[in-house]
């Protein structure tokens, strides 16, 4: 099958996707790491998919594939036309010597929000970030928690068809963590589509409608969160 299923609102399909990274070893020699191997699955409208796996099994690579930053070496990745998938990245394109306000504009534009929308949401973004007067200070003076808070607040307004989240629930202090979890919960419970990458099985269990367990670059299990997580924890 080469076309996506319209009936089930299939947004993306990975068909035996393989991908390897190259790293320079010497002047003319490269070494290839097979990161993903024969990975197949689909994402449907309204799902919240948890991608579970230990560090270094290819989860981040998978997110880069889904956000169209890279393309597979083998196999196929079919996207529905005009699909916008965005990685919820903190501080995308921040310039340290500029203020938080200036960075909100440039970072938002970088992520694909248009200028008019950012300007009209500026006060909301600043409010959510809880930065107060610091918003007019250079980002270089921010703590890493403050930067992440601003980054998260901007990313909230990107509003893509599929939001990809990579292990960032633990941003900022307890208070802010609650707020960001509330935002993600809200998105998860709506008809929006989200892919959440984590090695936290508990989190995947509470948020996701389906869990994909990746091990050594392959899909080890794909299905009901409870069953997959049980197998994952026993492994």
């Amino acid at each position: 099958m080469t076309t996506l299923s319209a009936e089930h609102k299939e947004l993306i399909r990975l068909d035996r996707v393989g991908l390897s990274y190259s790293q320079r070893k010497g002047v003319f020699s490269h070494e290839y790491y097979q990161v993903l191997n024969n990975v197949s699955f689909s994402i449907f409208q309204g799902e919240t998919i948890g991608v579970l796996g230990r560090n270094g099994v290819g989860k981040t690579t998978l997110l880069r594939l889904l956000s169209d930053i890279i393309r597979p070496d083998t196999g196929r990745l079919i996207r529905s036309p005009g699909l916008r998938t965005v990685l919820l990245s903190l501080q995308a394109g921040f310039i340290p010597s500029l203020t938080g306000r200036q960075n909100t504009l440039i970072s938002g534009i970088t992520l694909g929000i248009n200028k008019r929308k950012i300007e009209s949401c500026m006060n909301e973004i600043i409010g959510f970030s809880e930065l107060g007067d610091f918003i007019d200070q250079p980002v270089a003076t921010y703590s890493s928690g403050m930067r992440a808070r601003l980054g998260f607040s901007i990313a909230m307004y990107v509003d893509p068809d599929i939001l990809l989240i990579d292990e960032i629930i633990s941003v900022g202090d307890e208070e802010f963590r609650k707020k960001s979890s509330a935002f993600i919960n809200e998105r998860v419970n709506s008809n929006e589509t989200t892919v959440l990458v984590t090695h936290n099985a508990q989190l995947a269990n509470t948020l996701c409608t389906r869990v994909i367990w990746i091990n050594e670059g392959r899909v080890k299990m794909n299905g009901n969160p409870k069953e997959v997580i049980k197998a994952y924890l026993e492994a």
Partner: protein
């Protein structure tokens, strides 16, 4: 598409703002730098080597300002993709935009300095020639396209071959001495002229002087090959950046 136009424009403005805010004297450094170099060359060539002529000051300034535009664009374009790898890992952006931003950033600085220089020329009584409004414009566009094309090729190669930065450094150093910044192309012996005419930057500087200082026209006989070169560079550079568009983020070189 509109999204990428906005990205290029605001990224350019932000980088200039950042550049200004990083130094106490900010924008003044753009003027101070060529003036300092000019003072040194003037000292050496006029007082020590007892050379130089009537317009030596203006000749030097044309050379230094045009050179600075060329060198800073090439330097910044070369590393434009490697510098932005963190961004490239996070969001898809067409890679050819990065050398374009490098060109715009250095060009906005150049235009500022160039306007100050034009004011200086008028101040010392240089007559305004017709070619200031026609030939000069073509020459500026020609140089911009040439730099963009070369910058794209270098930017495309840099992530694969970081050594390219040393090639660029040394290449620029050699060009600095060969481009007639502190001597006139006319003073090069006739037998060596064809060789010197192979150097695009030298040809550009020579023609800027003809227009700005002597009110003459562009010498198309030695300039048209630059147009061909610019278009070839642009075609090669774009082809490379499109070919490797989604390959850069696939490599584990960071």
């Amino acid at each position: 598409m509109n999204r990428y136009v906005e990205f290029v424009w605001y990224r350019t403005i932000s980088e200039i703002r950042a550049d200004i805010s990083r130094a106490f004297l900010g924008i003044l450094w753009w003027i101070i730098e060529p003036v300092l170099y000019m003072a040194i060359f003037y000292l050496i060539f006029v007082f020590v080597l007892k050379q130089g002529e009537n317009n030596y000051l203006s000749l030097l300034l044309v050379g230094l300002i045009v050179w600075k535009w060329f060198a800073s664009t090439i330097n910044s374009a070369t590393t434009s993709i490697t510098r932005n790898m963190i961004l490239i890992y996070q969001v898809y952006l067409p890679k050819f935009l990065f050398p374009v931003i490098a060109l715009f950033t250095s060009s906005l600085k150049f235009i500022t300095v160039f306007l100050v220089f034009l004011a200086f020329l008028l101040f010392i009584g240089t007559p305004i020639a017709d070619s200031w409004f026609t030939d000069l414009f073509f020459l500026l566009v020609l140089q911009a396209l040439l730099m963009l094309g070369l910058g794209m090729i270098l930017a495309a190669i840099d992530p694969f071959l970081p050594d390219i930065k040393f090639v660029v450094d040394n290449g620029l150093m050699m060009l600095f001495f060969l481009s007639g910044i502190f001597f006139r192309f006319d003073s090069v012996p006739e037998s060596l002229r064809p060789l010197f005419n192979l150097n695009p930057v030298g040809v550009l500087i020579h023609n800027y002087r003809e227009i700005l200082i002597y009110g003459r026209h562009v010498d198309w006989a030695i300039c048209w090959p630059l147009g061909v070169l610019a278009i070839s560079f642009l075609a090669i550079g774009l082809a490379l950046l499109i070919k490797f568009d989604r390959v850069y983020a696939k490599r584990a070189f960071l």
